[in-house]
């Protein structure tokens, strides 16, 4: 009880600083933002941008973060959700491995409500060289990663889903992490410390004064408004899209987009992360994420012009399936619920623009030194896993420019939702309902903000993921939710086995009420179903095709949604 009280004490502050800016998503608020002058403007609402915004705000800077779509729509939301121990890179890239294990240990403390401590296995199959295991364990040791060789029998016991043919296994501190939650937690903390954040604001150009960047030109995609906002330093944290942003500023970065496709299976087959103990290759990691599991990835170099086309091909699906069943044979008979792809932002070394020598590590470019362009910093490369460190490095560079000497505290200060280290949804001694338990799992101590006073708030909207009316209210009012896709990213509504078959209508209906816009809610519902379908279509056979037909029977046959919404040629603002 004492604990929940401390959470409540924290709540009013939260409402004041976050609630105000979002509850009234009004023009007055955005107008004030547009008129402000900021110490730093961060472009990009992925984990890196959010982490940088948090760090800058904690060091006392006046921060604006802008994102052209929803938060975590780029590579942040399109990976395994794996919290690497670093073991995967130990043999090939010792530096990345050390960064990973150090960040891994930090995230377990500061982002515990986003992390599930599953541990991981590196398994050797009969077709692999068992000799590699020694090389691997030695490299892990050098990087400071605990790696215990265990008996295959023991591996089968602790992870029954593993391919029983395995001939070797190593246990490492891999874990599962929710990148959506992680990003939102960073943004929440940034806002708690005075930062402003705008989603659906696209950078159209830079305000350039001679050789100095003095701000950004923005398009508000929700209103169509064009505005300019001034800042003393602009940080480019746009992942693969950073090349385009740099070009707007007049700087050149050579990015090498590496596309990776993944498949989500209909339930959680494994409880530990399972990797192949060999040199990194296609489809060699299976990660348990909440109620599902994810196999990936492929790796293909793609032209920079195609980074916005995230459609998964038949070939990618075939490779993932073929390799996936070698890790966990039961995947062969498990329903695939969707396919998706993301793009890693690999950067060419400055001394070798041909791309032969590509850095996989963190790249922080001060364009003043590099291109004679003042007030502009690019932070790229790296991984979702190392977002905090990237934020720290970028913030150090910003602070150096602004003469700010405050120390970085992001490695020790818990994120909102993780301050209360006794709060645990698995604590069965507390009498939580299914929905409350799920909400605590998703929002940590912030779940205390979810209204649950009456039985309507406790009513379930999404049965697969245990999302209540109260949680949806909380997300709509406090987590920058404009549409159902945003809502899914904040709450997991529609992410479970049924892929939004019934809950999306319930949620759309509620959103229509909250926002007083029924027609908009119908269009939004159709857009949401379309977005779900995008991921289902590459794997539309078996039960996934059945689900699609069922969805069509309900929303088109029974309800006639297709008669009132025309989506021909619609490009969505997601």
């Amino acid at each position: 009880m004492a604990k929940s009280k401390s959470v409540c004490n924290f709540a009013p502050k939260l409402i004041e600083s976050i609630g105000f800016a979002t509850l009234k998503t009004s023009f007055m608020v955005t107008d004030n933002i547009y008129k402000n002058e900021y110490d730093v403007i961060i472009i990009g609402g992925g984990a890196t941008g959010a982490g940088t915004a948090r760090d800058c705000a904690l060091r006392g800077l006046k921060v604006l973060l802008v994102e052209r779509n929803d938060y975590s729509t780029g590579a942040t939301g399109r990976n395994h959700g794996l919290m690497h121990s670093g073991a995967r890179y130990a043999v090939t890239d010792g530096e990345s491995a050390s960064e990973c294990i150090s960040e891994n240990m930090i995230l377990r403390r500061i982002a515990r409500h986003c992390v599930e401590e599953t541990d991981g296995l590196f398994i050797t199959l009969p077709e692999d060289d068992l000799g590699y295991q020694r090389t691997f364990v030695d490299a892990c040791e050098r990087a400071g990663i605990r790696a215990d060789i265990i008996d295959p029998e023991e591996a089968r016991r602790i992870e029954p889903a593993v391919n029983p043919e395995l001939i070797g296994a190593v246990r490492v501190p891999d874990a599962s992490i929710d990148p959506f939650r992680l990003t939102v937690a960073n943004l929440l903390d940034a806002r708690l410390h005075g930062a402003d954040t705008l989603n659906y604001h696209e950078v159209e150009g830079m305000i350039v004064n001679q050789n100095r960047i003095e701000g950004v030109k923005l398009l508000n995609k929700l209103t169509g408004e064009h505005v300019e906002v001034r800042g003393r330093v602009v940080v480019n944290a746009c992942g693969i899209w950073g090349q385009r942003i740099a070009e707007m500023a007049g700087a050149k970065i050579s990015m090498f987009p590496a596309r990776g496709a993944l498949l989500i299976f209909g339930h959680r087959v494994n409880n530990m992360v399972i990797n192949r103990c060999r040199k990194p290759a296609n489809a060699d990691i299976l990660v348990p994420d909440d109620t599902v599991c994810v196999i990936g990835t492929t790796s293909d170099r793609i032209p920079i012009e195609t980074v916005d086309d995230m459609r998964v091909t038949r070939e990618e699906v075939d490779v993932l399936l073929k390799e996936g069943v070698k890790i966990a044979p039961s995947l062969a008979t498990t329903r695939i619920i969707r396919a998706y792809a993301g793009v890693r932002p690999l950067v060419a070394s400055d001394d070798d623009p041909s791309g032969r020598s590509i850095s996989r590590g963190i790249v922080c470019l001060d364009h003043a030194k590099r291109d004679g362009l003042e007030g502009f910093i690019t932070i790229t490369g790296g991984k979702m896993m190392t977002y905090r460190l990237m934020g720290e490095i970028a913030t150090n560079a910003v602070c150096a420019k602004l003469g700010n000497t405050a120390p970085c505290v992001t490695a020790t200060q818990p994120l909102p939702g993780s301050e209360d280290d006794t709060l645990d949804q698995r604590d069965m001694s507390k009498r939580y309902s299914f929905g409350q338990r799920a909400a605590i799992g998703r929002h940590g101590s912030l779940a205390a903000r979810i209204e649950k006073e009456n039985d309507i708030d406790n009513a379930l909207v999404c049965e697969c993921e245990g999302v209540t009316v109260g949680e949806i209210k909380y997300a709509v009012h406090q987590l920058h939710v404009h549409n159902l896709v945003n809502l899914r990213r904040r709450t997991r509504v529609g992410m479970g086995t049924c892929q939004g078959k019934l809950c999306s209508c319930r949620a759309a209906s509620l959103m229509g009420e909250f926002r007083h816009d029924v027609k908009g809610a119908q269009a939004d519902l159709a857009a949401f179903l379309d977005e779900r379908w995008k991921g289902m279509r590459p794997v539309a056979w078996g039960d996934t095709l059945r689900e699609a037909q069922l969805t069509a029977a309900i929303y088109e046959g029974l309800c006639g949604l297709d008669q009132v919404v025309d989506r021909t040629g619609k490009e969505d603002v997601q």
């Binding site: 038949r314 299914f434 009513a459 759309a508 209906s509 095709l545 059945r546 029977a553 309900i554």
Partner: protein, 414 residues
């Protein structure tokens, strides 16, 4: 015991075919998994709702414009008109009282407030003959507090677009409040169970009578299945009261399924609930028996067989990684060989897989490796060449192909 006919599948088409045969003295066994797509039914039957994206005025007249692959064309437009009348009578005999005619569609009201063309609609459900001449001006839309499977806002908005004045009135009763304490219990089906007593209905009626004010007609989500309960409530409420469809599970659809099954059993039909046909034995161009999961080594023998196993939803068709197939007999199917062509990019676009199904001749007899199987007919959603989603012909194809197949069997018998 040898049957005259064994029907694989106990949904709308299987039951209607079974009833038509049992009525004429046939010994019929239906093997049913126990699930039916009637659970997604909005209280209406559709013969032909749309052609090239436009609402159809007269389904019977529009049949001539369908492609020759469509089951209606195989059966023949003249025969369809006769079978449509028979279907209405059969439903009525089963206790399913519907209004409408195949000569002209009327409009049903969907849970999202969309008017969709329909052939027959339950008398208890709201429907509109002519959108230009509404049956009344002002509606009281009764919304059950905490029931999310009726998108009230969308429904009210849609009714307003049709020209009604709508009063949205939220209400609850002690019975509903009790149900709401369990967060997952607020489904139409659990409400129907809870609200089935006269006292519970009276409490609802009291609320409605108190709230409905100036409205000329009262609309209530379809959370009452039993006709007696509906009639009781209608008599307690002092204005005309009509039901409006909810999201699944459909209480009225479930009731239709139950009434059809009872009628079939009353006629002496044998309904094997919770069982499924796993294989069939062929002798030349005839099926001799089928094996079910539960009966195991006791195959069901019959003179005639009916395949009424439904589409992908009901697993009458199965798609795997490489192909679409019919899982019991491996019958010839109309389906694209290339997986990429099964679907299209936008979910609301017409999808090719909707039209997939087993091939038949004009007498609905199935084919295997190009050869006609003489005593096996396919009916309902497992048939190819129609599109329940985009043409609004799903329930019509089920009812009418079922009756057509029964006719053929009975004709051959005599």
């Amino acid at each position: 015991m040898k049957m005259n006919t064994v029907i694989m599948g106990g949904g709308l088409s299987g039951l209607v075919c079974g009833i038509a045969l049992a009525k004429r003295g046939q010994r019929v066994t239906i093997v049913a998994t126990g699930q039916s797509t009637l659970l997604f039914n909005g209280g209406s039957m559709e013969l032909l709702g749309y052609l090239d994206g436009k609402a159809v005025v007269s389904p019977i007249e529009a049949i001539a414009s369908l492609s020759e692959e469509h089951p209606y064309r195989k059966i023949g437009a003249d025969r369809i008109a006769l079978l449509a009348d028979q279907a209405k009578t059969l439903l009525d005999d089963a206790g399913i009282q519907m209004e409408g005619t195949a000569a002209a569609n009327h409009w049903r009201v969907t849970p999202m407030g969309v008017a969709k063309p329909a052939w027959l609609t339950l008398k208890s459900h709201v429907h509109i003959d002519d959108l230009k001449q509404l049956p009344c001006k002002r509606l009281a839309l009764m919304c059950i507090k905490g029931f999310f499977d009726e998108p009230n806002g969308m429904l009210a908005d849609g009714l307003k677009d049709m020209g009604f004045e709508v009063d949205r009135l939220e209400f609850t009763t002690d019975d509903i409040t009790a149900l709401r304490r369990s967060p997952s219990e607020m489904r139409a089906s659990s409400l129907a169970k809870r609200l089935g007593s006269n006292s519970a209905l009276q409490r609802i009626a009291d609320q409605i009578n108190q709230l409905a004010g100036e409205a000329e007609m009262v609309l209530l989500p379809s959370v009452l299945g039993d006709e007696d309960h509906i009639h009781a409530l209608q008599s307690m409420v002092n204005k005309p009261l009509r039901l409006v469809a909810t999201l699944p599970p459909s209480v009225s659809g479930n009731r239709m399924q139950t009434l059809l099954r009872h009628y079939f059993q009353m006629l002496g039909g044998n309904y094997l609930m919770g069982d499924t046909v796993v294989s069939a034995t062929l002798d030349g161009d005839r099926v001799t028996s089928v094996t079910t999961a539960k009966l195991g080594d006791m195959p069901l023998k019959a003179d005639q067989f009916i395949l009424a196993t439904g589409s992908f939803i009901s697993r009458g068709l199965v798609a795997d990684y490489e192909r679409v197939y019919e899982p019991i007999l491996g019958l010839d199917v109309d389906a694209d060989a290339d997986r990429e062509k099964w679907t299209r990019f936008g979910i609301l676009e017409p999808q090719a897989y909707s039209r997939f199904g087993v091939k038949t001749d004009n007498d609905l007899r199935c084919l295997k490796e190009g050869k006609t199987i003489q005593n096996l007919r396919a009916i309902g959603s497992v048939l190819s060449g129609h599109d329940a989603i985009k043409m609004g012909d799903g329930t019509g194809v089920s009812l009418l192909s079922a009756l057509a197949a029964a006719q053929s069997i009975l004709a051959a018998q005599s």
